[in-house]
Symmetry: C2
Subunit: 358 residues, 2 copies
């Protein structure tokens, strides 16, 4: 499973599909958890694969193709895969059938598929006489697939709210000067995040005030390979000369300020991970609606005392009613600090491997 | 010098005097930097000492007493000390004379004494025929003595401003509820800091609004051994029943809001390290005056959107005019984060050891 997780990480973080890795091992696993032959020697690898993004083969199919290219027979083999093989036909065929068809005897997977449209692979495999063990290293796979699994299970994007502020939450000084509150390392990090998400959203107010390009750029200023969809929320028009209309991802204008409308529009564009970068009233609406899964707070060691805030009035009047997040990670970026906080209180429990229905 | 620095750290962080350690080694150092006999063997330790706080012997005198107690003759010895031996008579006699009197042949020190009243020890020693080498491991000693050296060199306390806020700089929700924005680990850390400083200051506004005790407490709620002086700034009276008047450090009321008046009052009470905990207008005045040496920003992963701020309007209207600090340290405390930022841009340069006048 270590190798399968390693393979999975090679896939792109963005896109509608999960990052999945698969390793085909010779023979059936002795005790439900493969990783070696009965005598303790490592199992022989017949083939391996990972998913490279929508429209390309799933990890299991890639691993079967790899085994075939190597001239290996996979009949009676064990497939170790980071996510329950899918049971539906999307852009590619169902993996559960492909594995059964190839004669694989045992499938060991980490995470159960949270996507209602694709789940049921374990049942399909069992019905065809394949042994299935689920929940192996589910915590690691869950962390890798957290964003995708949250979005796929819920049908709306995983929302990350980004703020870049002084230590007192100001995005700019009183005169509006804001370039730059945070330093080059924080800005480079924020661009790297844009290159990993499916879409970036701002309000028309932010477009009119700041004219952001919302592109993912490398430190040298060039455009990253993947550019997120650019979502604008609000009723006002995006000016013809806006930088948003320049090179970068496609522009989608959602003519509403309702959180639900943004999420629905994003989901319709197959957005799994949505990064919201402003403005303050919309950030407050998202937080108040409980729609923020993750907060990226970039904090610069400066205190302004006055100036516009990153987040507007939430309608929270008492401390106990404030939406609490849990700190997941703290990262130093030059003189700045990135605090990553999440709504989920804890990582998914490391469930014991199960042989039963999952 | 490693051992001398280790000894120095045993002394108390609070108090008017610096933390200093001293080791007496047999014989003169071969090349100006001791640490071994000419054949490479470690030098024999004749005695060692450190300063335990005002009114007790200085490190050098403690080391001489230790050598005497062990029955060692220190004539011709090398004294390794973290700070230039003092040349003045305060509560104790001048160390430079004591070392020369005892027959020490060579003094190796890290930091030159920044205190105008006590400096000149190296010159006194040289005048009496003692070899003096300064600047050895000055960077480490400078870090250990940063607070004291800043205060002693300037004649006013080293000022640490503490804030405990939401990610948007709020100390409380709109209704004033503030217990607790930060969690138990952050609060315990803040109490440990109080136990290391000489004084804690708040405004009368904070006294009237929050009725703080300003004591240093252990996690079990008991009072720490050292209690900081409690300084209140502002013209209003401290109510008779205020918790500030309860068990804890002495209470000093500075009936002014002027930053200079607070600093002068603190200096008059031999305060080297002053921790300012509120309120917002006074914090802003300190920052605007450039009087904040260090900022302790405790940040909780919560966004309030509204509510009172930790720092009031600084009069900063444009970003370039904002007082910038440098991040010295970022510490995770449970779900909270402590960002320690300082005004000084860099640690003191690690000066090469000098034999000349320093």
């Amino acid at each position: 499973m270590d190798r399968a997780l390693e393979l999975a990480r090679r896939g792109p973080a963005h896109g509608p599909n999960p990052r999945v890795g698969c390793v085909l091992l010779a023979g059936a696993a002795p005790d439900g958890v493969p990783g070696g032959a009965p005598d303790g020697a490592p199992a022989r690898v017949l083939g391996e694969g990972y998913h490279r993004g929508a429209g390309t083969p799933h990890a299991e199919v890639a691993a079967l193709a790899d085994a075939a290219a190597r001239g290996h027979d996979v009949r009676g083999a064990t497939a170790v895969v980071t996510l329950e093989p899918c049971a539906h036909t999307g852009r590619t065929g169902p993996c559960a059938h492909a594995l059964a068809e190839a004669g694989v005897a045992h499938v060991v997977h980490a995470l159960d598929d949270p996507n209602p449209a694709a789940a049921g692979g374990a049942a399909v495999l069992r019905a065809r006489g394949v042994r299935v063990t689920g929940g192996v290293r589910a915590a690691e796979a869950g962390e890798l697939l957290r964003v995708w699994a949250t979005a796929a299970g819920r049908g709306t994007p995983y929302v990350t709210l980004k703020t870049a502020t002084s230590l007192d939450g100001r995005v700019a000084a009183a005169d509006g000067t804001s370039r730059w509150i945070t330093g080059p390392q924080a800005r480079a990090h924020a661009h790297a995040v844009r290159a990993e998400v499916d879409a970036v959203a701002v309000t028309t107010g932010t477009v009119l005030a700041d004219d952001p390009a919302l592109t993912a750029r490398r430190p040298d200023g060039s455009l990253a390979e993947h550019q997120p969809l650019r979502l604008v929320v609000g009723r006002r028009d995006v000016p013809g000369g806006a930088r948003l209309r320049g090179p970068g991802g496609p522009l989608v204008h959602v003519r509403s300020h309702a959180v639900a409308d943004l999420l629905a529009a994003a989901a319709a564009h197959e957005v799994r991970h949505l990064l919201v970068e402003g403005g303050p009233a919309f950030a407050a609406a998202l937080l108040a609606a409980g729609a923020v899964d993750e907060l990226h707070a970039y904090l610069a060691p400066v205190v302004l005392g006055a100036g516009p805030a990153a987040v507007g009035d939430l309608g929270v009047t008492t401390l106990a009613a404030a939406p609490r997040l849990r700190t997941a990670r703290v990262e130093r970026l030059g003189d700045d600090v990135l605090l990553v906080a999440r709504r989920d209180p804890a990582p998914p429990p490391a469930a014991a491997p199960t042989e039963g229905d999952s």
